[in-house]
């Protein structure tokens, strides 16, 4: 039951801050509260208790309680039947497919119809700082929009401000029509709700830039424990992708040494992992290191560059690579043929005669006298 005084405190936050508790010291907030008509007769400890409830887990003790998954003892669970269904009899959603009309579609998926980004997928995009993660993915969103105007795309930026975006837009006018949510606008109030709304709303293809930065903000600004923030965001991404059929792209960071920064949970739960790297001569390329929708083109580098304000994929070097793979397969078959011919010529029974000298293994006794 919520007490009368608690209702009074909640009403205050609802009226003044839209239901969110602003950042800052609780004592400062309490002093302001006391000057408000609703502040009358409320003690500091009660006020603090309500804030804790409104803010969610903040103290290590609170976080431990809420973030720890405690398995319910089997005996306490009401018995139920396991639902085991043959794959062919499962109910599948009608998967949407979004196309950029570029070579990249082939890498996103190798199913029928020329590839593309399938709904119901959670994807990670990684690469070292400055390699072009945001550039490539914003270009992807812009091209989907241009190719399929009905597609609902969304760019969620937690790192960039309006000013930063202006310079991006200046060099890439193609992104003009990319709907964008600047999370920095909600850093004071409604940060969590904004993320939830954006990920579970009407959008089909969503780019989160970046997953790690949102976690850092949840930790530093709202005081969440990083493991809790990580699990919360990852669960939300999986819910949006798997439960709601959206295609989510999470930009993640990488160390200079090429190590992935982020949880193993996210890494394992995702459909694909796309890496953007610097190649020979500082040419940039992307490649999928994991892709449950396009396994045949995993680990195949696709080089790209910027031209006329957009990302251009290097078709010639891609074709060359595919040709090289064909040749390599032929060569492998040829080597097997040559080995068979070798065996037939040298290791057949006709050559293996028993009258020839037996091979000798080197031993201490096996000496040769040197003539003086």
């Amino acid at each position: 039951m919520t007490g009368k005084k608690e209702v009074q405190v909640r009403k205050y936050f609802s009226q003044e801050f839209g239901g969110e508790v602003p950042t800052g010291k609780v004592l400062d907030l309490f002093q302001n509260f006391q000057t408000h008509p609703l502040g009358e007769g409320i003690s500091y400890s009660l006020f603090n208790g309500v804030i804790k409830k409104l803010r969610g887990p903040q103290t290590p003790a609170d976080v431990t309680q809420t973030s720890r998954v405690v398995a319910t003892p089997a005996a306490a669970v009401k018995d139920f039947e396991l639902e085991i269904v043959e794959i062919g009899n499962m109910q599948f959603p009608d998967f949407k497919c979004f196309k950029t009309d570029t070579l990249l579609d082939k890498l996103f998926s190798d199913h029928d119809g020329g590839g593309g980004i399938y709904g119901g997928t959670a994807n990670i995009v990684i690469g070292e700082s400055g390699v072009g993660k945001s550039t490539v993915m914003l270009d992807v969103l812009a091209k989907i929009k241009s190719n399929q105007p009905a597609a609902k795309i969304l760019y969620i930026s937690s790192e960039m401000t309006r000013n930063d975006l202006f310079f991006y837009y200046s060099k890439m006018p193609i992104i003009a029509e990319v709907p964008t949510l600047l999370l920095m606008d909600y850093i004071q109030t409604g940060f969590v709700k904004a993320i939830e709304k954006a990920l579970t709303g009407e959008h089909d293809v969503i780019l989160i830039d970046s997953h790690q930065d949102i976690i850092v903000k949840l930790k530093d600004v709202l005081g969440w424990k990083s493991t809790y923030a990580e699990a919360w965001l990852t669960n939300l991404v999986i819910k949006a992708a798997d439960g709601m059929g959206k295609s989510i792209f999470c930009i993640q960071h990488m160390t200079k040494g090429g190590t992935y920064v982020g949880s193993t949970y996210l890494k394992h739960a995702t459909t694909s992992m796309m890496e953007i790297k610097f190649g020979p001569g500082n040419r940039r390329y992307l490649e999928f290191t994991k892709n449950r929708r396009g396994g045949s083109l995993v680990n195949k580098p696709l080089f790209f560059s910027m031209a006329d304000g957009q990302v251009v994929y290097d078709q010639a070097s891609w074709d060359l690579q595919i040709r090289a793979e064909d040749v390599a397969h032929t060569e492998e078959a040829r080597r097997e043929e040559l080995e068979s011919e070798f065996d037939a010529l040298f290791l057949s029974a006709t050559l293996a005669t028993s009258s020839v000298e037996e091979p000798t293994e080197f031993t201490e006794e096996n000496k040769v006298e040197v003539e003086q």
Binding site: L320, A324, E331, L338, F342, F346, N366
Partner: protein
């Protein structure tokens, strides 16, 4: 230029003489006491003929000193050499050195001719080599096959572009056509630079110039690198980056007695004739016609009180001759590119010998003028 029929004929010949290969572990090769002497090894309980080159390469793989190994052979102590190989092989196998190897065999001679570490075997098949050449011909307009040299287990396809590049600053005759040479040795595929001097229709193959490419691995990545490098050469018109500078140095530097003698030895040693007397006369004639400065330089050394036969290579490399390095390159490549009255075992090697001399990083007398300061 080669016709399509000649190209097809050479392609078929190269495919039919493709070396056979077999991946083995070092421990699978068994030697007996007389393996080296009798020329065989044991593999999977079969007695398999093996050439002298095979044993040399096996010894080299086991880090056995080649001079020592040759000495055993020379002194009739092949059995000791054999024991040494066996002992080191046994030791290597038992100390983490039982590595995967690739054996190469000549199907016509029915013997194993070579062995390398499996990761050093970087070769595409002759069929793919010829298909690659066809690909270049299709993709690069005005590209032609200048010649194909098949022999000694190696196939070399020399491709040349028709556009002419002149270096008139160096000389009015210095006009060239450039291209590439696709080379398949029994264990290695590589791309050498190829250039053709118009005035005398000399073709030269130059390894180790800036544009040369060596296949690192015979998988998709390595093959993609090969295609990429060919594409890159095409963009620059196949002209090696340092060509002009090297040409200038070669024309401005006198060839040393050592450089000339090496060229002479290579040519006269390759000349063949059944009659020894006739062979000797032909050798003299080749030296007089193509390396006239050789004899006069030898005479000069003799008159100065030295016996040229007793000079070391180092001493000979300080002796000037009357011809430039570029003259010497041209004599070699001319002999490699034209049919002459004399017959040679392998004329095509002179193209490579000329190219190698040209591509040498430092000519013997390149800095000779500083000796007088």
């Amino acid at each position: 230029m080669l016709s399509q029929a000649q190209f097809n004929e050479a392609k078929l010949a190269a495919i039919n003489t493709e070396p056979l290969t077999k991946p083995v572990m070092l421990s699978e090769i068994k030697l007996s006491d007389n393996s080296q002497k009798d020329g065989f090894i044991h593999l999977n309980d079969s007695r398999v003929p093996a050439s002298g080159a095979f044993f040399k390469q096996l010894a080299s793989l086991l880090n056995i000193n080649q001079t020592l190994n040759s000495k055993f052979e020379k002194n009739g102590d092949a059995a000791i050499g054999n024991k040494l190989i066996g002992a080191v092989k046994h030791y290597t196998e038992n100390r983490g050195g039982d590595v995967p190897l690739m054996m190469v065999a000549n199907r016509d001679h029915r013997e194993i001719t070579g062995i390398v570490k499996a990761d050093k075997f970087a070769r595409i098949s002759n069929e793919t080599l010829f298909k690659t050449a066809e690909g270049i011909l299709n993709e690069v307009p005005d590209m032609h096959i200048e010649s194909i040299d098949n022999g000694n287990g190696t196939s070399r396809i020399n491709l040349i572009h028709t556009s002419e590049v002149g270096f008139e600053r160096i000389g009015p005759d210095e006009v060239f056509r450039f291209g590439v040479s696709l080379v398949n040795s029994p264990t290695q595929t590589q791309v050498d630079d190829f250039f053709y001097r118009l005035v005398c229709a000399n073709g030269a193959v130059a390894k180790d110039m800036t544009a040369a490419f060596q296949l690192k691995q015979a998988n998709a990545t390595g093959i993609a690198e090969l295609f990429q490098s060919l594409k890159a050469y095409g963009k620059t018109g196949f002209v090696p980056r340092a060509f002009a500078d090297r040409l200038e140095r070669a024309t401005g530097t006198r060839a040393s007695l050592q450089e000339v003698q090496r060229a002479v030895d290579s040519v006269v040693g390759n000349l063949k004739h059944e009659d020894p007397e006739m062979r000797r006369r032909l050798q003299e004639s080749v030296v007089d016609n193509h390396f006239p400065m050789y004899k006069s330089t030898m005479a000069r050394v003799f008159n100065a009180g030295h016996n040229p036969d007793f000079l070391t290579d180092k001493q000979k490399s300080f002796v000037k001759t009357g011809m430039s390095v570029w003259d010497l390159v041209n004599e070699l490549t001319w002999l490699g590119s034209h049919n002459t009255i004399e017959e040679y075992e392998n004329r095509a090697r002179f193209k490579a010998a000329g190219g190698s001399l040209f591509a040498k990083s430092n000519y013997d007398l390149e800095a000779a003028q500083f000796a007088t300061i």
